[in-house]
Symmetry: C2
Subunit: 297 residues, 2 copies
């Protein structure tokens, strides 16, 4: 069993209604709100010794938990709004530690205009933090994973790789500003956040859109000290991955250095070769990449 | 440190806005929706070896996780609508076990008109299930914990006690039908669901409403084989606890045997003696009760 096989099987349990245009399988669920807007709903669980260890500062754990959920809302083109927090607390924990986790949650929430409105606190053998986050998106700005088309260019909002090793995964900035600027000025075909690694997450877009992709090895932006292979497979970057038509892509290329999208890089092209992910090296030769990233289990 | 002290301290971290009329400290958070309705948002975490053990059927665990959240929405007078599920899964678990948990979640969700629209599945040392549930309530039907007034009668929707011992906590029916009938035909002052025990949960209403209460020992409805002390303190009954003015209380007393509120019992009266909870015995003598129920830690 792995996570993605399980998610496919769990889809039989979603009982969607006309109130729920998009359910399981995107960064957030899409709910009907009014004539102009959708509501977005996402949930993310962080578990001690799986996603963080006790030697990480509790403020950073709280910050990350909130930032992961905010990133999911950004990936749909939306604005985050309201969160409820569940925390499972081991018996040997001081209250100060829990308050520091909340401080981190709160710092990140406030920075992105999110109201913390409630929660549940229970006993647990290991620390568990769950953030359920509501957001909104104008109907015309909603971006799913399923809208990539052959010929589209593929972009990332910033450099990739080494996030876990460098500790960047604890202090990353969810790309809300970039996503909102993007949907307001362009029309991305598909978008998601990179949490399990570029290759694996691009695979989700390819499957959802029934297309293939060819990435340019030289074009993938890497953090200093990170090689392309790491940039392709390391998890927890939380940059956005999106596609634009060639015409829009040319318009993005003409942006100025002060644009919120200044750090965006074009890394390849969507192809009609459904499910196939290719990597073209500096020598022009293509090799096939496994569209697979970090598998949670 | 205990849970309720912690919840008080966590209130400093809520950054409420005009969009959030009621935050931390009620059964669910209340969010602005439109001129006529509020949205309700609640989150509940169940942890293996704290709230259930591996020898409970996974379908029952799933059912209970969903039912607890639905009960929170009912306690506000609302209708549950949309849920997202996070599950933490130990390494040694078969996929069938997880699917059975989802089957339980789904069975309960469908029975109460709830759409399962998404989730998160992660590795964890012990099973953890978090249900985040959205609901709605007409503004005129919203019931908080803070509206009990001296002279009001106190009701429960059914018999109490022995829920954990009897296994009833795994198959209880959230009181949505009762709550909806109640808010449509009466005007309850305060309401909540009994999860930590009658005495403790009534204490929450007394503190939120700045009132006291006197319970009639003989009037507290007990499950067969359960004594009054157990009915007062056992947790996980998930019946609703609510207050009505004397006039409305007389009207409720005149209900027929087929009313959805047929099982409701008047168990006492709200007093002006802020925070004081009394129990009046068959002999007419009053003794003080600790307004304290199950403390999670």
């Amino acid at each position: 069993m792995n996570e993605f096989g399980l998610i496919e099987r769990l889809k039989v349990f979603q009982n969607l209604s006309p109130e729920v245009p998009v359910g399981i399988g995107d960064d957030a669920a899409v709910l009907r709100l009014d004539a102009r807007r959708y509501q977005l709903l996402t949930t993310d669980m962080l578990v001690e010794d799986v996603h963080f260890t006790r030697d990480v500062l509790p403020r950073q754990v709280g910050y990350k938990a909130m930032a992961c959920s905010i990133s999911d809302i950004a990936a749909m083109g939306g604005l985050p709004q309201t969160a409820v927090i569940s925390i499972g607390v081991p018996g040997n924990i001081r209250q100060g530690y829990i308050l520091q986790i909340y401080k981190g949650l709160h710092t990140c929430a406030r920075a992105f205009g999110v109201s913390l409105v409630g929660g549940d606190t229970v006993r647990a053998p290991k620390f568990v933090i769950n953030v359920a986050l509501l957001g909104q998106v104008e109907k015309k700005y909603l971006v799913l994973r399923s809208g990539a088309r052959p010929g589209d260019s593929i972009f990332v909002t910033g450099p990739l790789g080494g996030s876990l090793r460098s500790g960047r995964h604890l202090r990353f900035i969810p790309r809300v500003k970039e996503a909102r600027f993007l949907v307001a000025h362009f029309k991305p075909g598909a978008m998601m956040d990179i949490s399990d690694g570029l290759a694996g997450d691009l695979g989700h877009i390819l499957r959802a859109s029934r297309v293939g992709a060819c990435l340019q090895e030289q074009a993938v932006p890497c953090y200093p000290g990170v090689n392309t292979r790491q940039a392709l497979t390391d998890g927890e970057d939380f940059e956005l991955l999106f596609t634009l038509t060639p015409a829009q892509s040319a318009r993005l290329a003409a942006r100025g250095p002060l644009s919120p999208l200044a750090a965006c890089r074009c890394i390849g092209t969507i192809t009609a070769d459904c499910g196939r992910l290719l990597l073209q090296g500096a020598d022009g030769r293509c090799r096939r990449l496994a569209a697979r990233g970090f598998v949670h289990f």
